[in-house]
């Protein structure tokens, strides 16, 4: 009761359906090319048009190649899906940031950076990592394609109200411990189903101390604990990040908005269905060894003896083994998890003055053209080039292998993405999830390395 989540959810309830879910009004629907075509088809089949087209923003990200985006997509199936989104957006009068549009990128990077995702909003997208947008203080969650169609048709969704969970992380994280490590630690502690049925509010001094980029990373990974969404109460960090963004309110409207946003916090008397508290000092740079994101450990740790044998067989690891020193074939920096400017700054800071290891293929993929622009503006591209790294063009890339960026079977990839499921980065690919710093350390040494030792 009286939590940040309750305040926003309750303000969006159009009605309680008798004996059923809430009819929830949605302020922002994002559509990407993978989970929307069948929803648009459904709309056509019912003879409907979007009820509030001005609330809907579309952009391709999953299929987009990360090179030569000025040329037609070579894979005809990917091209057909990307083209279908452009066609649907045009037919229904929806805003569309197509490939090569300077506003294009991964939806979960673009939404906040354009000021499309704002505090107090309800936000959905046919994508589980929609939880990302909760970092601005919104109720944001992933939905299925039928639910995308619901929102297209009615700007509403039918949804049972989730329970509430607060996770506080107090204290100051140690060296080389990033938001990604906090999230991997939480997943390891709570497991991949520990927050299922809940909506999470992240709080505590370690969370308050995160930049907006860090909060976006943390909220992005909420779904990997099973949570529908995660959120951080908006504060000065949020307001400073959003001010003057393209779609953020301006002038008097901005002042009014900020005055409202300041009320968006859990009351001192707020009651959560579940609460956890962790000490930031207990958290080390993390890495995963298995085939779900909850199978993580400190990068200098040893694989637990009780680890799933099916997972270890897939990964080619043994229980009780260390990962430090194991050879790495690929390094992937990017995705809606770690494809933001801060992630590139961190990666560049570590590789500066070093060289990419000879045996490593590194894919450095900005989350959006805006991130790409800033990388160049800040001279990060030069640092990366001097260290032997090449910058690619924005998109989801190797996070889920729906484009050309696939990890070959049996190869090891240190990935800053969000999932290490079997085959996630390509059939047979072996993914080790980690932060941009752990990824950078692997990229310059060619083996799993603790960035604190460099």
């Amino acid at each position: 009761m009286n939590t940040l989540f309750d305040k926003i959810w309750d303000a969006h309830v159009v009605q309680h359906v008798e004996g059923g879910p809430d009819q929830l009004y949605i302020d922002r629907l994002y559509c990407h090319e993978v989970t929307s075509p069948q929803a648009f088809d459904g709309l056509r089949a019912r003879g409907l048009r979007p009820l509030r087209p001005e609330r809907i923003f579309c952009m391709p990200d999953h299929n987009t190649p990360t090179h030569d985006q000025d040329k037609p997509i070579a894979d005809p199936v990917s091209k057909a899906q990307v083209d279908a989104l452009a066609r649907n957006a045009a037919e229904f009068g929806l805003t569309h940031f197509g490939m090569m549009d300077p506003r294009n990128g991964i939806i979960h990077v673009v939404g906040p950076e354009r000021g499309l995702s704002l505090p107090g909003m309800t936000i959905v997208c046919g994508d589980s990592h929609t939880s990302t947008h909760g970092a601005v203080g919104a109720v944001a969650f992933g939905v299925g394609t039928s639910e995308v169609e619901m929102v297209l048709a009615s700007q509403c969704i039918l949804q049972p109200k989730p329970r509430t969970m607060r996770i506080r992380i107090e204290g100051t994280p140690g060296p080389c411990v990033t938001a990604k490590d906090l999230a991997l630690y939480l997943m390891q502690q709570l497991t991949t189903s520990g927050a299922t049925g809940y909506f999470v509010e992240y709080a505590g001094s370690a969370v308050r101390g995160l930049t907006m980029e860090g909060r976006l990373t943390l909220c992005n990974l909420s779904i990997e604990m099973g949570a529908r969404g995660g959120m951080v109460a908006p504060d000065e960090v949020t307001f400073a990040y959003l001010k003057d963004k393209e779609y953020a309110p301006r002038g008097e409207a901005w002042d009014r908005a900020v005055a409202y946003w300041r009320t968006l916090r859990s009351g001192d008397d707020a009651v959560f269905d579940r609460e956890y508290c962790f000490d930031a000092a207990d958290i080390a740079p993390m890495i995963t060894y298995g085939t779900n994101p909850g199978m993580g450990m400190p990068v200098d740790g040893t694989i637990p003896p009780e680890a799933s044998s099916k997972a270890l067989q897939y990964m080619g690891f043994q229980p009780g083994e260390q990962l430090l020193g194991k050879p790495v074939d690929y390094v992937f920096l990017g995705a809606c998890t770690n494809g933001r400017i801060e992630d590139f700054r961190r990666f560049a800071a570590l590789v500066k003055g070093r060289r990419k290891a000879a045996g490593v293929t590194a894919w450095l993929v900005p989350g959006s053209w805006e991130v790409h622009r800033r990388i160049v503006a800040e001279g990060i591209d030069r640092i990366l080039a001097d260290a032997g790294f090449e910058l690619r063009q924005p998109g989801c890339s190797a996070c889920l292998a729906m484009n050309d960026d696939k990890i070959p079977a049996g190869k090891y990839c240190v990935s800053t993405g969000n999932r290490n499921f079997e085959g996630r980065q390509g059939p047979g690919a072996r993914t080790l999830l980690a932060s941009p710093l752990v990824a950078a350390a692997a990229a310059v040494t060619g083996v799993i390395t603790d960035p604190r030792t460099l």
Partner: protein, 201 residues
């Protein structure tokens, strides 16, 4: 696709693995289809477990085990975690499943099953273990799911449990109606909400 789900009585396919994620149910490379061709998704259900890299069926995977078949999938806890892809539910429907019985479902996937007219049935860990044992010992053992009564019964042992299903969704399943049918009738309420909301976002 919309269909009436009232009574399901069938043999079961046992998949006693926990944390089966939707990337396994339908790998991402099959999500490039732009139409809702459930037969196509069904053909690729559990693709990388069901087939070896050379495309031949993997005989050790349960869908290739001739002893098992039916309209009910028995699955370990935390079924459908990970990606929100509804294609996973379409693949289950396209393969011929009408219900999935597990002790715990991931949220988004559970909604996707309901919206795709595949019934997620949550039973106790204990009952799930019994169902696995019964079906593995006797693949012709049948299970009956009564949507109206909200009960699931192992016909071999007679054990029965009730399962949760809200009254609204039950009405939808029994009458082959979906949420969009409902929402488009709520236009007046949506207009009223938009007019009276306190903070324009």
């Amino acid at each position: 696709m919309k269909r009436k789900l009232d009574l399901i009585e069938s043999t079961c396919v046992p998949l006693p693995l926990e944390n089966v994620d939707t990337d396994q149910i339908i790998p991402a490379r099959f999500l490039k289809a732009t139409t809702r061709d459930e037969a196509f998704f069904g053909e690729n259900l559990f693709r990388d477990w069901r087939y070896r890299a050379d495309g031949t069926p993997n005989p050790s995977f349960v869908l290739n085990d001739p002893r098992y078949g039916g309209e009910i999938l028995l699955a370990g806890r935390n079924f459908g975690s990970g990606s929100s892809r509804e294609h996973a539910a379409w693949a289950l429907a396209g393969y011929g499943f009408k219900a999935v019985i597990s002790s715990f479902f991931a949220d988004i996937h559970k909604n996707n099953e309901l919206n795709s007219f595949v019934l997620p049935v949550v039973v106790s860990e204990d009952f799930l273990a019994e169902l696995f044992a019964t079906v593995q010992a006797n693949p012709s053992a049948r299970v009956r799911i009564d949507v109206e009564a909200q009960t699931v019964t192992s016909l071999a042992t007679g054990r029965s449990e009730s399962f949760e299903l809200n009254a609204y969704k039950k009405y939808c399943l029994l009458n082959a109606l979906d949420d969009i049918d409902y929402l488009v009738l709520q236009q007046d309420k949506i207009n009223a909400y938009e007019k009276t909301r306190q903070h324009e976002l």
